[in-house]
Every structure is written in C-alpha cells, then in structure tokens.
C-alpha cells in the first residue's frame, strides 16, 4: 500500500521534529580542554538544537574546561561562551552564535532598550485616520489613533515590529523608532485582498493564479430566493446557470462551466460544502459565507471529479474577535408567473378558432355548431369565458424568516442559523416547505491547536400533483373556456366538458386537490476538523465529513368522478382511474469522507514564499432504494401500504456503492508575491474502474506574474494598482461515467418470465476490462488589472479545454446483439473567453460601482465515429454536441400555383402551410433536405451589476442575459401548434387566411389533423431564437443610522425591497426564454419586502 508508506514517512518526520521541540533542554557536560566545536556538537546531541556559527567565529576562541550538571540550555550556553567574545540567541530550534560587538540589530532584540514612540497614521491623501490600531507584534500591546490620527506607545523595544491596521486599508508593518512621523496606509481594494478559498486551503486574491470566480455573502444574500444557486445567476462568468422551472423546491437548475465536456456523462461541476461533497440546494442562501468557482487547472487538486470544474461553498462561522450578534431577517414575498404567452380564453373566439383549425387540418366536422357559439355571445354563468390559466395559476404570498446567531467568545467563534421557508406554488397543487439549520464553530484551544465543526441540515417537503408539472400544465391548458371547474348546481361535482368535441385531458383543479406526489427529504451534513500547528510553519489538519439523505416519497392516484357541464350526466372518471393506488419509495444515501493534510510554509532567502500541501483522502457512498406498491385503497385518507390488499402488490429495491481514495499535493511558490507558481497533483483511485486502471494522476501547473510589482510600474505607472498575467495548464478527470460498475462483466438478474420458477438472468453489456477515466486537459491564460483604485478593473480569460477518452458505448455492428461495451472513445473541445470589467468609486458620500461580465465558448465534437442522428439533432465530428438538424423553413405558401410549381412533398399541402425548402433541388422534399443549424448553445451570456450606497441607502441592480440560443417549438404539447396542447395561443389570431396573406404566421392547423404536415414538421421555421436580457434582481435598502439604533440597543436595522425577474427583454413569444416549452412550470417574478434586524 503506497499510501500507507507515505503516511509512515510523514509520521516519522513529524515525530522526529516534535520530539526535537519537546525534549527537555537541560544540559549535562563534563569536559576538560575541549574546543567549542566539540562542545557545540554535544549541545546539539543533548538538546536537539542546531548550533549555527561561522567557522571564522571560532578562530579566536580558547579551549575550555566545563563542568555543568542538568543546567537549562540558556545558562549552559552562557557558561560555555563566557570570555569567548561571543554571544548567542535561540531562535526556533537553533542556537545562533553571534559576535558581541558586531550583532545585527535584528538579532539583538533582547538586548535593546525600551523607548517611547509617537506617530501619525494618514491615508494617501494625507488625511488622518482616527481609530486605526497599532499593535506591537511581540507583546500584543495595542493602541488606537486619536481624532487627529496620532498615537503614542510607551516602553516599546526599539526596532520591534508594529502592525498598523485600519478597516478598508492595507495592513502595514513597520519597525519602531521613537519618532515615526506620518505613516501612510494604502486603501485596499477588497477584491484584491480578499482571501479566496481554494481546494484544501486559502490564498490571497493577489496570489491566485487560476481562473477563479469568488462571491461573498453580500453578493448572495441580496436576492430573495430559496435556492442559493438562483442567487449566483448572472454573477459568475464562465458558469452558465439555467433555471429550468419555477416549481418551488424543484427549480431544475443546471450548471455548466465553460461548455459541455462530454456527450456521454453529466456535465455538472463538483460542488463541495466546507470541503466535503455536498448538496448546495440544501443550504439557505443566508448560511453562505463565500462561493468559489474553479474553472481551470486550479481545480486539479480535486483530480478525478474536477473535469467539469469545482464549486467550493463555505458556510459562515462567525468572525474572530466579534461580539455576539443576532440577525433576524423577515421578509414578505409576492410571487407571480411571468412570460406566459397569451392564450384565448374567450369562448366565442376559442370555438371559432377551433372550428377553423380543424377544418384547415382536415380534421373532419367542425366541433362547434353556430348555435352553440351563439350561446356564448352573451357570457353567463352557464356559458362562461372561463380562464383556466388564471384559475389554476395565481400569485401567492410567502412569509419567510431566517434567524442567525454569530459571534465569538474567548477563543471560540461560532455561527448558527435557522431558516423557515414555506412556499405555496403559483400553480395549484404545488407547494414546498423547508426547514434549514446550520451551526458551525471554530475554537482555538491554544496557539497551536484549533478545531471546528460545521453542521447543516434540511427537512423539506415538495408536494406536487400526481403526474407532476408537465401533466398539470397540460391539464390546465387543455381545458376549453366553455365551462368551469364544478357543476353549477352546487353539488360539488367536477365538471369535465361542455360539448362532445371537447376532450380535456383531466380536470386540473380536482387533480390538484386529490391524490398527489409527496417527497419528503431529510438531509444531514456534518464536518469536523482539528488543526494542529506542529511547528510555526507546519500545520496538520484532519477533517471528517458525512452526509445522509433520506428521501421518502408517496404517490397516490387521484380518483375523480366527472360530469358533463351542460347535462350533468356522468362522464366516468378522470383518466378512467377508479381505484386508489399508492406507491411508496424510500431512498437512502450515505456518504462519508475523511482527509488529512500537512501544510508547510516557509519564507527563505527573505523573498521566496513556499507553501507545500500534502494530503490523503477517502470517500465512500452507498445508496439504497426500497419501494412498494399496492392498489385498491378504500379511501385516499389511507396512505400507507398496509391499508390495501396484498393482491397485485409489487416491491423493488436497489443498492449501489462507490468509493474513492486519493493522494494529493500542492506546491505554491512566489518571489516577493511577484512571480507566482503553483503545482498540483492528485492521484485518485476509483472503485468504478478495473484493477489495472483504478488509479490515475492529474497534474496541473499554474503561474502568475504580477507585473504591477515591477519597478517600472511602481515607479513610473503607480496608478496601476494591480496587473497580473496568469497562465495554467492541467489535466482533470471524470469518473462519473456510466454508473458505478461500468467495467464489470455481469449477468443481470431480473430477466424473468412467468414460469413457475420465474427468476432469469441475462448477459448485460459486454464488459471492457480496459476502461479508463475521461480526461480533460485545460489551458487558461488570464489577465487581472486594477487601475487607479478601482476606476477600472477587470479580468480577461481565454481557455481551451479538450476532453478525451469520453466514455461511451463502443460503436459495434447492430448484429452483435449484446449491449456494446463502454469504451474510452470520443473527444470534445471547448474554447472560449470571459471578460469582467468594473468600475467602483466614491464620490462625495456616494459609493457606487458597475461590473459587467461576458462569457463565450465554442463546443466542438472532435472524435465520435460514425455520425449519429437523433430526432432533430445530430452528433458529427467538427460540429458541436447535438447540433440542430431539420428541414429548412422557407416562408409560407401563398397560393396553390406556388404549391403546384414547387417540389413534391410527403404532405398534403395547402396555401398557408409552411414551405419546406428543397435543399438539394431534386424536386422532392425528403429526409435528404434536412440541414444543420447552430443554436443549441448560446453564442454568449452575460451579466451586469450596478450598485450604489448613500447615507444608509443602498441600491443594487443585476441584469443577466443570454444570446443566440435557439429552441424548437413545434412539438406536440409545446402548445405552439393550435390545440396541440389544448388551448391556442392568441398569436394565431392574425395568422394566414385566404384573405390575410401573412408571411410570418402560417395557416391555423390542427395537430391531430392529417393536412398541413409541413407546418407541423420540425423545421427552422419553428426554431426560435430565445436571446434575452433580464432585469434579474433589483434591491433597494435603507439602513437606519447607527446612533439611532444603538439607542434602542440594536446593532443594525435595515429595510429592503427586492424584485426578482422584474423585466425580460426578448423576441421570444412562446413562453419564458429560460424555461421554454408549453408544459413548463411558469417562471416567477418575486417581489420582496423585508426587514433585517441585528441585535
């Protein structure tokens, strides 16, 4: 076991050093006429201390006689050096021999006289800084500057180091002299000086060489959202965040860093919470201290799982030296749907349009006679214009509270928080409740020993109707406006339709109230660590983490008798379901990990700063599932399996395991914080690969040059505060491929048949004993700059990523029969760049800033094999993954002559239909005339942040957008084609008719009718650009003046108003651009009014 050996080596080294430190430093020595060299050697043997001297120092020494018995080291040394003209100092574990008359000032510390010193602290504009702190490093003595910015310190060793700090300014260290004069502090730029959480350690922003985005609590807290990921959107260049749904508790957020790497496996980044793989959805946004996104080779320290990038989330722990503060945040939210396309809920229009569509579509007799239509001309209760959308999708109000406690006491700082979130869905039948909690603490037990724990958990319940979102939306939209939800006789009977030709999918309100799908989750996540400073510059840390998730779900069928709106006659049961069925399922997943690191830092030759990190880690996860099903429950109140007969019951269960063992190291080295170098290597062993390929190495190298530290900048161009060139190269891995057992040749059970003895087995996939990791090599070059104290700042990054060995089923001939083995075959690359530009100033009493970001990538499939066509997309070398492939829309047929003169098509064509281009010009439109089109990926996405603070007022505005992505909207149930998903869009009201020769809107068609196939076919006519710009977030706040709130014993009181998704600018007309498709849960616009009180 290589890891074992390594541990032993580390241990041995540690033990030796530790013993050196703790050995009783008492000396016993008896020698006559010995020379100093021998004596020093004996001292070293007995004390473990190295004696450092220059050989010429001993030239003039005399032989000596010595007789000491169990004397402390210091006394022994004095005795030995008596009369030799030499003195000594003990530093760390060394005894340094110095010449008495030539001692350097630094070595003379203990010999110096105490002095009184005075000075003044000013900023760059020579304005005094009252309240700045001056700390004597050696003694801990602290004083503050007065209103004039001056200070006095008494009885301080001359030349001792003073540390001068003031909030918002760079901390400075100076040597003490009696008259210090004016000491200038430079205002620091928070961005540059912040500490960035990197894998297993932290780095100062200035020293970071990777391509990294960092967000702090203040960037996250502002948005009133329940899922922390929503609050990152628009702020993270290179990290594309798409919210697929407005459903509470199931926002369907997908993450992608710098383009999809693989066509065969998940492209989501690895997310770690406090260093341990976790679920960010389970955190309340207010718990988060910082989020770091590692986009390039800097992620290599996470080796096997880093190829899609890494997101590091750190939860709050309370600041050191802060007093107790209690934060209460109460907010009131109002949510409503946005960007739902207008539909026709006027009965007369609806019926007329439906008649037209069916007539046009060749669908047969028109469903509504004029006599029926006439009934609705004067709407009444019996003959309504019932708007089902308004009835089923309504604004809701939410009251949300979070409470947190933080502070420090003695050597311990802590932070605890609780959040309660109860969100009714804007769509009936949906709701979400969550209780989140967290607690973390750090305790510095002694100068050398520190430990901490961090716990967080969530209990939540997501409720949705039996068949989920898509079905519920379809059920709503498939209603006609000609009837309401209940019969008018007050019997409470559910109405299903008014007229024979109406076949609404199911009554949506009744379905939202009966049966359902409940998902209860309990998640607990905990980590604990201890940190020991074995030596001043050697830190050992051990961290353990665990996560347990239990998901228990219940699925109960709704049983709804339905009746005709007009006649009151029974129409059977909604969806024909007459018995109550129940499925219960419990998923348990357990994950645990432990890692240990040694971190050694050393400054040598004065200006070289070295940091070496070495670590090992292990992770294991186990997931189990158990489910059961019974049918024929007597009542919907009986919602446990035992309440139904056993007949026809089924059960199922699965279990799957995964483990990972790793060894990793990082070396960072910089010269004067000017030339920066970082190397990472990780060796991962994964249970997912065969013995010979279990382990893989993932190295990376990063370098930086802070040009701004060069004299030609500091002297000639001092207004350039920061200018850094960065470059990185590394290999990252992905083992998240094809399940947990991709290489194993097994016979799958469950290939059963209804014989007396039913159990059967069958060969699963052919196994590939040489299965390996997917590897992504990534190159990044970047530039960071900051000019004139944030007058302009920014980052530019260019990257090239290439993923090779993409694991996918080997292309085998169809006749091979068995499932093809997984092989490492396939290459994808992504190239792109990201730009961040910002400006931040203070004018008078106004602080304000603007920051914009822009990201772009190009995705290309490099090695795939034979092209594969899948519906309206294809996979082909030289193109992006899943490039669009479909007929080319070519306007609208305006006349029969045009049809007769045009190419033959597989469809019955009528004027008003979409014209499909005969691309190859052979006179026949067929599958060969399909063309490829871009637009699967956006050409770029961007965000812009504006903020300002003035006298307690604060405003922040965030815009976010995406350009160039296209979606195909013709499919059944997208609801674009008239009556395909039930209702019809108002968009069709001025569509093509023989009288109205529209060139943009084809003739109304009926999805289920035979004609107009070309209008229905997948063509570029229906490939719509969804580019959008969204006013994602606006916050307005006011913080009461501190003097005022202190009178009522409060620390802070802030009122705020926030709007999420307030405005969207887009040409897309058929829904929300982020969450396309007629059956998606609508996106939300959230208005929040909140109060934040700190005690």
């Amino acid at each position: 076991m290589r890891i074992m050996k390594l541990i032993i080596i580390i241990m041995t080294t540690l033990l030796v050093q530790v013993s050196a430190k703790t050995m009783a430093q008492r000396i016993t020595m008896k020698a006559g006429h010995s020379n100093l060299k021998k004596v020093f050697s004996e001292i070293r043997k007995q004390s473990g201390f190295i004696v450092l001297y220059k050989s010429d120092q001993l030239n003039n020494t005399k032989p000596l006689d010595i007789n000491i018995d169990n004397v402390p080291l210091e006394e022994a040394m004095k005795e030995i050096l008596k009369g030799q003209g030499l003195s000594f100092i003990i530093k760390d574990k060394s005894i340094i021999i110095i010449e008495k008359e030539k001692t350097t000032t630094e070595d003379r510390v203990s010999l110096l006289e105490d002095i009184n010193i005075r000075g003044k602290i000013v900023n760059e504009q020579n304005e005094p800084l009252p309240g700045a702190s001056i700390k004597v490093v050696s003694t801990g003595q602290v004083t503050l500057t007065n209103a004039e910015g001056t200070f006095v310190l008494q009885k301080v060793n001359e030349n001792t180091i003073l540390q001068i700090s003031f909030i918002g300014y760079e901390t400075k260290e100076v040597k003490a002299v009696s008259n210090m004069g004016s000491i200038i502090l430079t205002q620091l730029d928070a961005k540059l000086n912040e500490v960035v959480v990197m894998g297993y350690s932290t780095q100062k922003r200035t020293n970071v060489t990777g391509s990294v985005v960092t967000l702090q609590a203040k960037d996250i807290e502002n948005s009133s959202v329940s899922n922390p990921l929503q609050s990152l959107q628009g702020k993270t260049p290179g990290l594309q965040i798409t919210q697929g749904s407005g459903q509470p508790g199931a926002e369907g957020i997908s993450l992608n860093i710098r383009g999809p790497n693989s066509f065969a496996s998940d492209n989501g980044p690895l997310i770690l919470i406090n260093g341990v793989v976790g679920d960010i959805n389970a955190l309340d946004p207010s718990f988060i201290e910082s989020v770091t996104v590692l986009k390039d080779a800097s992620a290599a320290i996470y080796g096997a799982r880093a190829s899609n990038g890494v997101i590091l989330v750190t939860t709050k722990t309370g600041a050191e030296d802060s007093k107790l503060h209690i934060d209460l945040n109460s907010s009131y939210l109002n949510q409503a749907s946005i960007n739902t396309p207008e539909r026709v809920w006027n009965s007369v229009d609806y019926m007329n349009m439906r008649n037209t569509a069916i007539k046009n579509g060749g669908g047969g007799a028109t469903p509504y006679d004029q006599s029926i239509i006439d009934l609705y001309k004067t709407p009444s209760e019996q003959y309504p214009n019932f708007n089902w959308e308004d009835y089923m999708i309504k604004p809701v109000n939410i009251f949300n509270n979070t409470l947190s406690v933080g502070g420090s006491s003695g050597n311990t700082n802590y932070h605890g928080g609780m959040g309660v979130w109860s969100q009714d869905g804007i769509v009936r039948g949906f709701d979400y409740k969550k209780y989140t909690g967290m607690f973390s603490m750090d305790s510095r037990v002694s100068k050398r020993f520190k430990f901490g724990i961090s716990l967080n958990g969530i209990i939540d319940q997501t409720k949705q109707p039996y068949n989920g979102v898509a079905d519920m939306i379809l059920a709503t939209l498939s209603q006609a406006p000609t009837y309401g939800p209940f019969l008018l006789d007050g019997s409470g009977r559910v109405a299903w339709r008014a007229w024979d030709a109406e076949w609404p999918q199911k009554p949506p309100f009744a379905v939202s109230e009966n049966g359902g799908n409940w998902n209860n989750r309990f998640l607990f996540n905990g980590t604990a660590y201890t940190q020991v400073k074995i030596l001043d510059n050697l830190t050992w840390e051990v961290k353990g983490g665990m996560r347990a998730t239990e998901n228990s779900a219940k699925l109960q069928t709704p049983v709804i008798p339905i009746y005709n709106w007009i006649t009151g006659e029974p129409e059977g049961y909604s969806n024909g379901t007459q018995t109550i069925d129940l499925r219960q399922q419990t998923d348990l997943s357990k994950y645990y990990t432990a890692y240990s690191t040694l971190d050694y830092t050393k400054t040598f030759l004065e200006d070289f700063n070295l940091d070496v990190l070495l670590g090992i880690s292990e992770e294991k996860s186990v997931g189990t599932m158990l489910n059961g099903y019974r049918r024929g429950f007597a009542s919907s109140a009986l919602d446990v399996l035992n309440a139904a007969p056993e007949e026809g019951q089924t059960t199922g269960g699965t279990e799957t395991e995964y483990s990972l063992r790793s060894l990793f190291s990082r070396i960072t080295l910089n010269y004067k914080s000017k030339y920066l170098f970082e190397g990472n290597v990780r060796r991962d062993g994964s249970s997912r690969f065969p013995p010979s390929y279990k382990y893989a190495y993932f190295p990376s190298f990063l370098a930086g040059w802070r040009i701004s530290q060069e004299p030609f900048i500091t002297e000639k161009l001092p207004w350039i505060n920061e200018l850094k060139l960065r470059a990185s190269y590394g290999t990252l891995g992905n083992d998240n491929v094809n399940g947990n057992y991709p290489y194993q040749s097994t016979l799958s059970t469950g290939a059963n048949y209804p014989f007396a003895d039913q159990g059967g087995v069958r060969l699963g996939n052919l196994a590939n004993e040489r299965l390996k990791w997917e590897e992504t090599s990534t190159k990044n070059i970047g530039l960071d700059f900051l000019i004139k104290n944030s007058l302009l700042y920014g980052n530019l990054d260019y990257f090239v990523k290439t993923t090779t060995g993409i694991l996918r089923p080997q292309q085998v001939p169809g006749y091979s029969g068995v499932g093809s083995p997984s092989v490492n075959q396939g290459t994808v690359d992504n190239k792109g760049f990201e730009v961040v530009l910002g400006h931040r100033q203070r004018v008078g009493q106004v602080d304000y800033g603007v920051e914009g970001n822009f990201s772009r990538y190009k995705n290309t499939l490099r090695n795939f094999g034979a092209p594969a066509y899948n519906g309206n997309t294809f996979m082909k070398e030289g193109y992006e993954i899943n490039r669009y492939f479909m007929y080319q829309g070519d306007g609208i047929y305006q006349s029969q002559t045009e049809i007769d003169n045009g190419p033959s098509t597989p469809w019955v064509q009528t004027p008003g239909d979409v014209r499909i281009k005969d691309v190859d010009g052979n006179g026949i439109v067929n599958a060969d005339d399909r063309v490829d089109v871009d637009g699967v990926n956006p050409s770029f996405y961007y965000g812009m942040n504006l903020y300002a603070n003035w006298n307690g007022f604060d405003i922040a505005v965030l815009f976010q957008g995406e350009q160039g992505r296209k979606v195909l909207v013709n499919s059944e149930y997208d609801g674009i084609l008239p009556f395909s998903g039930g209702n019809v869009l108002a968009w069709w009201q001025d569509s093509w008719t023989p009288e109205n020769h529209s060139t943009t809107k084809p003739r109304m068609d009926y999805y289920y009718g035979p004609n107009g196939g070309s209008t229905r076919a997948a063509s570029t006519f229906w490939l719509k650009d969804i580019s959008y710009l969204r006013l994602k977030n606006v916050t307005l706040g006011y913080t009461l003046p501190a003097e005022l709130v202190s009178k009522i014993a409060l620390q802070k009181v802030r009122f705020y108003a926030n709007a999420q998704n307030l405005l969207t600018f887009t040409k897309y007309k058929f829904g929300d651009p982020e969450n396309v498709g007629g059956r998606a849960y609508p996106m939300l616009r959230t208005l929040t009014f909140g109060l934040n009180v700190q005690f």
Partner: protein, 498 residues
C-alpha cells in the same frame, strides 16, 4: 492519528453490484442454466413481438393506421421508407439481433453446466427455436442478413451479409434440431413444444415457396392431434380463453399479474393505437360466405349486420358497445369524434372487456399469441393448393377454420373452386382470421401484392396516403449499420433502392 482515517482495507476500491451475478462464477449448476434459459424467454417480453408492439405490425400493411405513430408506421408508410426514418423498419433489425445475441450466449455456454445431455439438448432446442424465430422475421423483412451464431466479441472481424438462402438453411437446420429434442406435447406453460417448431418450419418453407414440404410439415402437426381450434374465436386473445383447455395456442408471450402485466387495455382500448382501414372491414364476408360486393345480405345502411362474426370480434365498429364504457354509456361511438376522419374503427382483438377503466387496463395479463393452430390449417391449405391445386384436404383445412366462426364452407363461393380462386379465398381467409396478428405484412410481401394493396390505401381511408414503392419489398438496413461497415472499410450492401 493519520492512520485512523485510512481504513487500509484492501478491498476499499473493489466494489461489485449486489443485484447481478459475476460471469466468472456462473454456469456451474443446473439452476444457472434454467435461469439463463428463463433469460432467453424474457427476450420476448421486451421485444417487438410483445403485446405492446406486435398487433401494431399490421399498420405496415393495408390493415390499419398507426394512430400514435407508436411503431413509426404512420410516418414510415406516409413518407417513403428510408434507412433513417426509424420506427419498426430500423428498430426491428437491432432488436432482433439483441435477442439472437442472448440466444447465442446461452447456446455457447449451457454445455458447461452439469445437467444431463438429454436435458441440455432440450434446453438448446427451445433456444434454437427462438433464434430461428428471430432469423425468420429478419430474413423476411431484410432478405440476406449477417448470420451470427456465436456470441459477439469486439475483436471479431465484420461479418459479411449472408444470402437469404443461407439464412433460410440455417433457420431450417436450427428447427430440425429443435424438432428432434422438443417434447411432443400440447403447449401449456410457455415452454416451446415440438408443434411450434414444426409450424415455424412449415411457415419458413411456405414463405420460400417450398410448397410440398410446407404442406407435409403442416400435415405432420395436424396428424399429431395435439392441437385443436378453440371454439370461441375472440377469447383466444383474452386471458379467460387462454387456459389449459385452449389447445389452439402453440406459442405465445406469457403475461401474469402483477409482475408480468401488459397494458393492452390502455394501448389498444384507450389510446386507440391500431385503427383499422375501411378496406379491411369490407373484406369480411357476409354470413353467406360471399364478399359484400356479391352478397345479397349486404346492406349499406347497416353495414355491420349479417357479416362474418370475426368482423366485430376483431374490430370496434360504429355502434359497437364494446370498448371503454364511460359509466355504462355506449362507447365506441362516443370516441369516434376524436379521430380524424375517415378513421372510424378501432381494433378490438386483445382488448379485455373486463378491463375498461384505465387503471384496470394497465394491469392486463392476456398472452400474446404468436403461433396457433388456425395458422397450421391455413398454411397447409395454401401450400397444398399451390403444390397441387384444390383438393378435399385443402377444403377441409380452410373450412375447419371458417366453421369455427360459423362461416359456410369455402366452396359455397363459386369462385373458390379453381386453384386461382381458391388461392384468393385462402388469402382472404388468412387476412380476416389472422388480422392484427402480425401476418398481413409478410403475406403481402411474399404474395408480391404489397404495392398493389398498399398503394390503394387512399385518402378515403387513411388521413394521409400510404405509399409502397417497388423496392420496399425489402426494408432498408438501418443507416447506422451501413455507416458502421463503411467506417470500418467495408460495405454491408444496402438493399436495392435505398
């Protein structure tokens, strides 16, 4: 300290699935063999021959419209069939080879188990029947295909396409072995019996114009006396007609509630996946045994009265009270408005009258009949008539089938007295007797009348015109297969016309 976190277990990274067996330790016991044999039968449940798919095959013929495009017939038959348009055309190829692969794996390994030679031979015979069954359909649909008889290994060179004759020889040879070792009993529990192998052999011979041999093979089954027509035609396809007293079924895909349910009730009753065309309805004779064009019994006002009873036993017609009643209201009528005219019929075969609510219709257990004795009789009749013209034996065979449904003898139709006339009568009989049993598509092809019959399906019957081109007698190989050969420097040889 540091050691504490490193479990140092040697097997920490060696994890195995708990719901699968390791190949290395398999094939050691008799039980292993029976489990693997069950695995071979299981291929039917997930195949294109299962209850979900097989009745839909008729949508590739002149019988019916694929309303939900469930097997791609709606799109495939209305636009010219091509190697990329999906549906059954491309899916069947890969699907069938998937099953053949399972069979080959069994045949390759079963000898390793310690069972008796006799036992092993019988198991092999069952699996050989299955392999022959799949190849039979492949050869009919695609002509010559690659003939793989061992488990595939990635290192194997590409197989050239065999000729159809070679494939047929292999089918017959597999069946010969199967016939030798299969038990000569009636079909009971789902295991293959000798009669099924004989019928498949007879069909293979008939489809390849080996009439005399086909007739004598069919005769062998008839003479064995193991199989008989079941008195209630419509019950053959429903669970309560599929008990041990039914000796007509010779091979079927078995279903059993709750673990082996099918959703035939939902698929065919509720979703209306197979919608018969008018010309099929018109093909059912009147009760006097004459076509509607000749029979005095035919009344255009009441077109479904006095007709061959199999019409309303197989098809829901306007006015039919069959189907999905909504609280007792009659129903097929109620659902017709949902359809695009001129469609107005729904398939009734396989739809359990007792499963007329959606929840119940999801829990059906009627077996899918793949081979039955009526087909033996019709195969005999056709082969014998082709070989030597009308004879008493031929009439006896066809009339046995007709009589079961109360239809008069074939000879009552004077046109059925000549060899050609009888040929038409037999073809007619096959169509109505075996409607929605996946036969029509093959029959049209082997009789070379597919273009004539299918192109006749115009807009008066189908919402979109059906198209059958001369080269469609063989389906195209899937483009993926052609590409695969091409990418490996080889050429499979696409069927002509594609």
């Amino acid at each position: 300290m540091m050691i504490g976190i490193s479990s140092c277990k040697k097997d920490f990274l060696d994890l195995y699935p708990h719901d699968a067996l390791s190949e290395g330790t398999f094939w050691k016991t008799e039980k292993d063999a029976t489990m693997a044999l069950t695995g071979c039968y299981n291929t039917f449940l997930g195949s294109k021959f299962n209850m979900d798919n097989y009745p839909l095959w008729d949508c590739y013929s002149d019988n019916a419209w694929d309303w939900n495009d469930a097997v791609g017939a709606r799109s495939g038959m209305t636009a010219p069939i091509n190697p990329t348009n999906g549906g059954l055309v491309t899916a069947f190829y890969n699907d069938a080879y998937g099953k053949i692969g399972t069979c080959n794996y069994f045949l390759e390994n079963v000898d390793k188990t310690p069972a008796s030679a006799e036992q092993i031979n019988q198991w092999k015979a069952e699996v050989l029947f299955m392999r022959a069954f799949y190849y039979f359909h492949l050869a009919e649909l695609y002509g010559g295909v690659p003939l793989i008889l061992q488990p595939y290994a990635v290192s194997d060179p590409l197989l050239p396409k065999s000729t159809k004759e070679e494939v047929v020889l292999q089918i017959l040879s597999d069946l010969e072995t199967a016939i030798q070792y299969l038990p000569d009993v009636s079909y009971i529990d789902g295991h293959v019996v000798k009669g099924a192998a004989l019928l498949l052999k007879a069909k293979t011979l008939l489809y390849n114009q080996k009439y005399q041999e086909a007739a004598s093979t069919a005769q062998e089954i008839i003479s064995s006396g193991k199989f008989h027509l079941y008195p209630n035609y419509d019950k053959i396809f429903l669970a309560d007609g599929q008990g041990t007293d039914n000796t007509e079924i010779m091979f079927s895909v078995k279903y059993q509630v709750p673990n082996f349910e099918n959703i035939s009730g939902v698929r065919y009753g509720w979703w209306m996946s197979v919608l018969p065309f008018q010309n099929l309805v018109d093909d059912y004779e009147c009760t006097d045994g004459l076509p509607i064009s000749q029979s005095p019994f035919y009344n255009a006002e009441h077109p479904y009265v006095d007709r061959d009873p199999r019409l309303t036993q197989s098809i829901m017609v306007p006015g039919s009270s069959y189907g999905f009643p909504r609280d007792g209201a009659p129903d097929w009528n109620q659902r017709i408005p949902l359809l695009t005219p001129p469609l107005k019929y729904n398939m009734r075969k396989y739809v359990e009258p007792s499963k007329t609510s959606v929840d119940a219709a999801n829990h059906c257990e009627n077996d899918l009949v793949l081979l039955r004795y009526a087909d033996v009789l019709l195969t005999f009749a056709e082969a014998q008539n082709e070989a030597s013209g009308p004879s008493e034996a031929v009439y006896l065979a066809i009339n046995e089938v007709r009589e079961r449904s109360g239809m008069p003898p074939a000879q009552d139709d004077p046109s059925a007295l000549s060899q050609d006339g009888l040929r038409e009568k037999i073809r007619h009989e096959r169509r109505v007797e075996l409607a929605f049993e996946g036969q029509r598509l093959f029959d049209l092809r082997r009789w070379k009348i597919a273009d004539q019959k299918i192109n006749a399906i115009g807009l008066g019957e189908a919402p979109v015109k059906y198209v059958f081109q001369a080269h469609n007698y063989l389906w195209p190989f899937p483009q993926s297969e052609i590409d695969f050969y091409k990418n490996h420097g080889d050429d499979l040889g696409q069927n002509t016309g594609y």
